[in-house]
Symmetry: C3
Subunit: 205 residues, 3 copies
């Protein structure tokens, strides 16, 4: 479906820019920028496809899915000062990518025959996996673990999708509600500074 | 077989607690605790299943395998000071998890048709893989590489299983001998402070 | 084909030695040396096989592919001062491994039915993947990201292979041209100190 593909490509593009910016800040070379852009944009989907056995991943069978992160990487390489200043805008797009990916991931895992709980989890993995691989390759603890509410909105969106499918509601509506759940929650968390709970005084450990 | 499932779940639980404790010590948030608990408990089996092509992994098809690490993560999040003080007990349980996983991993790889050497290796990977993923995500070199005898007992247990199967000995006996080999060796290594050999004077490199 | 297998084993051996040397320099124990040798030698092929769904990976079905990295690891463990002094020689062998692997990876991905662009990318992944896993496990940012021209020659060699196959040229010739492209470029980059481009003044980010 064209709309879904366009959304998917937008998500990949935005994630790839975020990966490219991390690479620039780590002083990596052009190739490092392209690889981090590619793994951030495509990593979540690759993880999902490998786990559900849907190999080779869709992105390897469709050249548009490879062209987009390369384009995003080159753009970041050339215009990183500008993109770095647009951090607020990039973050909003990133939230859109998160929303698109958690829905697409949950739909695909559900269609492949996984039960509702694993399907919701894989939706979340699809949404946050690329960023986790980016942080591993860049040598830092995944930011998704550090306070900011990022994974929970993705899990909520994926859960909404799975619940809707279990209730046999129409697919398009389910997808929209799931994406909106994730997007609104994530944007509010960003703008209000909501944090995930942390362990009580870890000093005693 | 109920006994095997119970053992498997105990192993996942113990490994998940060890992952949750690492996350607490790294000051990660609730989500970081849950993810590290989940990847530590399930990561070894996921690695094995992806490598032998048995996807989706069993843990994604059985909700108990997902519930246990979530429960372990929440428990660790809430009671980490108590669990942290029980380090000796946790380590004994961890050795039990190691023994269960090296046997279960070797059995599964062998049943899938791998030869004896790869099956023994995959048994070891199943046992140590979760901890390695935990350490990667927590931003530290896998502790399994650092002196303590951890992987060798797992490899020994898996090897005992494979040798037994090649000799057509009864499965239950083979599993018990394999688990005992790994468990006893690991406990002795812990209590006697046995270390793996390190390279001679690396100063000259 | 015997020749191809011999080349493949040589590539695995050389990569495994490079992984073992990194482990020795990080003061890891014997097991750490063996695991880093094994993952560096076999990791690229494992990544490729998991991504294209060719599981279990070939290396798990052929004991020679397991024996070679173990041998390389033991050799490195015992003779690392000598091997460390032979760095120039090791690097030349490493370039040969890169050339062999980018060709073998691209051929396998193409044969499995992937399109030309994904097949070239997977050829590169096969060649550089082992080293990336090695660096992740050793707790450092992959060196392939840091200035030296390493991945681009591998991508060039894999691309030459794919273009040749698309033009229906004879397989052996295509493989030789691809390997020569990668090898010559890599050796020149090493000897002339060619670097990959880095982002313009990242100070402003």
């Amino acid at each position: 479906m064209p709309t879904l593909v366009v959304l998917d490509l937008v998500g990949i593009f935005v994630f790839a820019v975020s990966g490219g910016l991390v690479a620039v800040r780590k002083d990596l070379d052009l190739f490092g920028v392209l690889v981090l852009a590619g793994t951030t944009g495509l990593g979540g989907g690759f993880l999902r496809d490998v786990l559900i056995g849907a190999t080779p991943p869709a992105a390897l069978a469709d050249w548009r899915y490879l062209l987009v992160p390369v384009g995003a990487g080159l753009l970041t390489f050339g215009y990183h000062p500008t993109l770095g200043r647009m951090e607020r805008t990039v973050n909003v797009f990133d939230a859109c990518g998160l929303a698109v990916f958690c829905v697409a991931g949950a739909l695909k895992a559900y269609d492949v025959g996984l039960g509702p709980i694993p399907a919701a989890l894989l939706g979340m993995v699809t949404a946050i996996g690329g960023g986790m691989v980016r942080d591993l390759l860049a040598g830092r603890v995944p930011v998704v673990f550090r306070g900011e509410l990022y994974a929970i909105p993705a899990l909520a969106g994926a859960t909404a999708v799975v619940v809707g499918l279990e209730l046999d509601l129409p697919r398009v509506g389910v997808a929209l509600v799931g994406a909106a759940t994730c997007l609104v929650w994530r944007l509010l968390a960003m703008w209000r500074g909501w944090q995930a709970p942390t362990p009580a005084t870890s000093a005693s450990v």
